[in-house]
Amino acid sequence: MSLNNNLTEDQILLRDTVRKFAEDIIKPQAKELDEKEEFSYDITRQMSEMGFLGAFLPEEYGGSELDYVSYIILVEELARIDSSQAATIAAHNSLGVGPLYYYGNKQQQNKYLPELAGGKLWGFGLTEPNAGSDAGNTQTTAVKDGNEWVLNGAKIFITNAGTDITLGSTVLAVTGEKANGKKELSCFLVENGTRGFTQKTMHEKMMWRASNTAELYFEDCRVPAENMLGEQGDGYKQMLGTLDNGRLSIAAMGLGLAQGAFDYALNYARERKTFGRAIATYQTNAFKLADIDMGIELARNYLYDTCRKLDRKERFSKESAICKLYCSEVAHTAANHCVQLLGGYGLMKEYDAERYYRDQKLLEIGEGTSEIQRLVISRMIGCYE
């Protein structure tokens, strides 16, 4: 990691601090939590005390007031050690806190944000069993009844939505039909404990096993009208905006994982000897490591640059799709080469390479598959006009 990528003094200090925290606190527990598929309340509490949960929120809500580059570095450094903890932080900030902060009214912000910066979690209920990339096909409905909305339907793969410290979730639902015949979508803030709303934690995951993923069920679940996020019919726009930001944190997870796998692989390749020489000195291995390093350097520069665009409030939809796609592919290559360089040991759970290899796979699927990212990019460059 030779380049400082034009980081400011405080960004470097933040990077070093999070790196140390991740290595001291998370690393010793990562393997066991993964093995047991256990969400750690203790680590989450410590991350909250460090200010990770209200990363970019202003101080008035108890947030850390990070610029976006700093937030992305936070996620990257966590993912370098453990994707599960990085996922908890990335999902909470980008998908949980994000929509409330960007689209919520003052009353909603005052009600929820201080708690969400102070140790509670919030989910983002978008994906359904029959609506993933195709969010327009959302089937969860909300019907107005007096001063309440009545929700029915189900959500799936919702990060952070089913823990004991989850306060609630933002839920996308169909609230009518638009003039063009398409579904009108709106978002609702639904608190855990609301009658008719149940959360079921999903098990047997391949990756991110120490993060919480839940299914959400709504059966005649009544929420007060004031729990609508923004205006009726804003749901689709809010969702797209949230995903643009969210893609950058998934990209950060890819970048961090790639760096972790690379460091691990390089270290091993310089130590491990075959035929009397370190395996890093064989060109076939050396070139693999050179390729990963090149990918990481390019990914980091492009990702940070895109975050600076966001901080300057410039458009970044295409760039964020490129970040997400590229970083997750670099992570894929890094994890794959890492296992290959470790040979038989790479296949054993005792070595971190195996966990990197499993954890990276989500990055090509979650928050828009790699195929969807290519669709976004190809649309933005005018292929279909």
Binding site: E9, D10, I12, S64
Partner: protein, 249 residues
Amino acid sequence: MNILVCISRVPDTASRILIGSDSKTIDPAGIKYVVNPYDEFGLEEALRLRTKNGGEVTAVTVGTAASTDVMRTALAMGADKVVLIKSENEPTDSFYVAKNIAELAKEISPDLILCGRQSVDYDSFQMTSVLAELLDMPSVSIVSALTVDSDKLTAERDIEGGKETVEAPLPCIISAQKGLNEPRYPKLPDIMKAKRKAIEERDAIPSEERVTISEMSILSKQRVGTILSDSDEDIAELVRLLHEDAKVI
């Protein structure tokens, strides 16, 4: 209670050190600089004493203009005030550094001065003693436990094969040893606030350099293996080596 903490800016121990073309300095390119780890113990102890007794913590470093980064770290950890005494080149002479810190100490009259037991760059181990001499204060070095009362302190020192407990009147100079405390991680909001706080900068006073470096070289890296037998003595030695040298158990 006013406390002065001396901070040295050193290369991260994981950095790959290269000698500059003059054979007398370290090539700074590609090196990550950090707060000297032993100074972190000193700063942490100062912050804890402030929490207990009130007062103000001032952190000082003598270094080049680039040293604002370690001052920023001190602010983020909780120092009230930081002073960067700017020298033209990276200071290597302990007397020069001590002389500059002593001048500041005379201005702010601290009740306690904390240093690390050594800086992990030049390892001269001199700061505590030279400062004590210049300021005519008692000093206690390599302290691993500290209690401070209104006019005196009690310190535990690591000595070969044991510990000794000493007392000294305030004001006093202490050098911190590992084990004194567990330094905190700066919290993210404090890092962000630290960037808005001021770093007081002043030029170093000219002072003679009593020791100058004439040449630096890097030892050629050779792996030295140790072969131990299965005697009880050697097994104990193996455990000691794994614990103290390799630090894996």
